[in-house]
Amino acid sequence: MLLVGCVALLLGWTAIGLAGLLRPRSVVLSGRVLFPLGALLGFALAVLAGASLLGGGIERLVLPLGLPGLPAHLRLDPLSSAFLVLLGAASGGISLFAGGYFRAGEGAAPGLLCLQYHLFLASMGLVLLADDAYSFLVAWEAMALSSYFLVTTQHRLAEIRRAGFLYLLMAHVGAICLLLAFGVLQGGSGLFTFAAMRAAHLSPGWAAAAFLLALLGFGAKAGLVPLHVWLPEAHPAAPSPVSALMSGVMLKTAVYGVLRVGLDLLGHPVWWWGLAPLALGLLTIVYGALFAAVQTDMKRLLAYSSVENIGIAFTGVGLTMVFAGSGMPVVAALALLATLYHCLNHSFMKSLLFLGTGAVLHATGERNLGRLGGLMHRMPWVAWLTLVGTLAIAGLPPLNGFVSEWLLLQSFLFTDGLPHALVNLLIPMGAALVALGAALAGYVMVKFYGIIFLGQPREASLVHAHDCGWLERIGLLWLALGCVLLGLFPLQVIGALGAVTAELVGAVVPQASPHWWLLAPVPGRPVSYGPVVFLTATLAVVLMTVLIVRLTYRQRVRRAPAWDCGFGALTARMQDTAEGFGQPIRHIFQPFFEIERELPAPADRAPRYRIAIAERIWKLLYEPLVRAVERLANTVARVQQGRISVYLLYSFATLLVLLAVAMAS
């Protein structure tokens, strides 16, 4: 029943999208009616999926679509329910925001955007429900395609076209990898349902090949280093609600995919498979955080931060597989919980941040951090709500980002119990990288928030910035609320996710504490975390301080120009820029970056300082690859050299060779 409901909601999304085409130029129809309606469906989906998650049951449905002999199989199990909750809940807030965000006269018609947007939502839903390779891939690519069109909304800009191209290319290559992975998984049975794949017995070599192909395919979508290059291009290019959706929800479908293939379809994982996602995840964490720290474009910064967070999720996946493969199901369940929780958290906080940048972008028309500043005074709603997201993503207690990092670090503590000497030596190092990533995330977020919202406006035009509308506020409020609630009530969330861990690794993390407010998930170890108490205590101490100070303190507060060590006239140009804020990172991690500097000469009349940072990965991997293909194409082009005699010679030679082969055999 729930599955039918979910499918109906997905169809509803499609219908809403099509309704947008009725009056494609009407902002009122799309913005005030259809997008909020889509948000409602999103919430409904979250509720339905949540019910299924709590019920823990599995529902199946077969639709007469797809290939002959392979009708579309759908399945609602705890894993897909968990991700559907994520999709519904996050997209609800984003859709509300989008309702106020899309306006007339900006790029494509609102109705068309409405169609693409809702198709994007529906296809993500279908990805999560699909239970055979074909419908999965169709949904997977439909997701890529609809988001591609959303990314290229402003197709008149060359950089956006480039971003779109790169995005779709990577998505397609990834999809082919997935296709091949499914080709292996079917094990020659010719049956492409997931049920058949679960039943198929693969030799270890083939199973590993399937997993690696899947990792490659899903990693390309998730933005796992070094397949992440499309991500910092595409996310900034898209309209902000779409960036939010891509970063907050779409990337998670890749995590879903890896979990589905690695832990469900392949059955029992071999422990060393987990090392690949683990290593790549750790690399991705550090890499993403470092590049986020040196960005000057606020959406690019967030995009790299998404790369980092995906790294955390994949680290969790890797740990889960290592533990599950080593016969430690309960610990594996803990790591899996950390992964799932992080996905959920990230979908809320990153959506919140992207939407915040969207509001800023709308109010100021600027994406460059160097031209923003002081927006806290002009856009208090956006500023305060974004602050919640900023603190959450920096992993500060008692918000949600901390919970998942806490869980992940806890599962790292168990690695010394692994029965493999070398691994058991190396994996704890991973914890160090996770910690480094978390600390860097704090750095990035201070930079992000401080430069946009605090300080003085760096441009005169910023004075005219205005706060966002009420629909946008509701959307932001919902997401911020999500960050807080997910942070405060982890126990309830983890309880609901128990069905997923039971499904995938066959164990549930026991709850060692009898209290509803105390999270004590680590079996046999006196470890606990009580965010509600934590928050209460913090608030109590802070309030008490305020109270005492207020009571004892008699003087009034006086407002005066900033002192600044008495330097006199203070201008906005004296503040640190985004480049300046990234300088320590650039300095410390120089080898990571490809830096191009333009320094002013001492006698310069109009001195200009410019710095551009690129990824070495382009020079090291992608550019040589493209050059190699080009060289190959040039070489091959010699074949087609215009002379008919030569063409005849080809035919002649082919004929002789084939005749010789035919005679020989």
Partner: protein, 316 residues
């Protein structure tokens, strides 16, 4: 949870609040002695606080509410942290809700509010200080976490009291991993608390200052809270050090007034020694250039990771 536990809890916080300024005073005194100067009064920090609390507060015109909230948050965070660290007893009710990782998170939260507030007014010094503070932070924080991680692995728990209890019971001895961690921890402590060689709280030189640059725009009660919070932070760090490396004397298990009676003098003794030690370190080392700080902290991080490695290699 018995009443006595709650009393210990409140007592711990109160003691920390009270002792933090005096610990700083003691440190300064030791330093002055070592440098052949006449030492300032042990109570000077108190007088400073009192003075600040009675001044008129001046706030920059374009400061946002965040600027005014931050001192309270920072102070609150440090006070709460004092309640989490088992400086006197291990049976603390609050500790159930916040383990060592949460403690690190709490420090991070305080730092984040501090830096955001520093950027709020939009002065050159404020942002400069914020940037440097975050630079120190992002290297020191993982190092601290790694230090705690080693201890956690030893005791299979990230709850500080459990670790302390375990270590204090003595059956572990001093693990070689912990030795490395201890070195790392001292480095982190110096960096995090703006001590020489990372920062010099006594100067206002733009080339070097970190902490002071951030708080330039603060005055009166806000500044007082921040200063007090800084003193608390130092106190807390030292107490973490005790909890991890010198757990002896802390009241364990069934806590009673008797336990506290032992614990308080023990703590005082350890603090006195630590203050002297820190003063010695600060005296023999010179302030380094800002851009050398990462190297300093990187070695801290490295030591911490090395500690982990050694622990896994030898300890497990």
């Amino acid at each position: 949870m018995s009443a006595i536990e709650w009393i210990t809890q409140v007592l711990e916080v109160a003691l920390a609040l009270a002792a933090a300024p005096v610990f700083l005073g003691w440190l300064n005194q030791c330093r002055a002695w070592l440098q052949n100067r006449r030492a300032p009064s042990l109570w000077l920090p108190y007088r400073n606080l009192r003075k600040l609390f009675h001044k008129e507060a001046v706030i920059a015109e374009n400061a946002s509410p965040l600027f005014r909230i931050a001192p309270y948050v920072v102070f609150g965070a440090m006070a709460l942290a004092a309640g989490i660290i088992p400086s006197m007893g291990t049976q603390l009710p609050l500790v159930v809700s916040a383990d060592a990782i949460a403690l690190v998170g709490l420090f991070a939260a305080a730092r984040m509010f501090m830096t955001l507030a520093a950027m709020d007014v939009g002065t050159a010094f404020g942002t400069l200080g914020a940037r440097r503070e975050m630079m120190v932070g992002f290297l020191a924080e993982p190092a601290l976490l790694m230090v705690i991680f080693v201890a956690s692995m030893l005791s299979s728990s990230t709850a500080l009291p459990v670790i302390t209890r375990n270590l204090a019971s003595g059956h572990l001895g001093l693990s070689p991993g912990l030795a490395f961690s201890a070195v790392a921890f001292v480095l982190v402590l110096l960096a995090e608390n703006a001590r020489i060689p990372v920062d010099n709280p006594a100067t206002h030189l733009e080339l070097t200052m970190i902490h002071e640059a951030m708080v330039l725009e603060y005055s009166a009660r806000h500044l007082a809270l921040i200063e007090w919070a800084a003193q608390l932070k130092l106190f807390n760090y030292v107490c973490i050090g005790f909890a991890l490396f010198l757990p002896w004397g802390v009241a364990r298990a069934q806590i009673g007034p008797l336990g506290l009676l032992v614990a308080i003098p023990a703590l005082a003794a350890k603090l006195a020694a630590a203050g002297a030690g820190l003063a010695l370190i600060e005296t023999v080392s010179a302030k380094m250039r800002v851009m050398r700080i990462p190297e300093f902290l990187a070695s801290a991080f490295l030591f911490a990771v090395l500690g982990l490695l050694v622990h896994v290699l030898l300890g497990a």
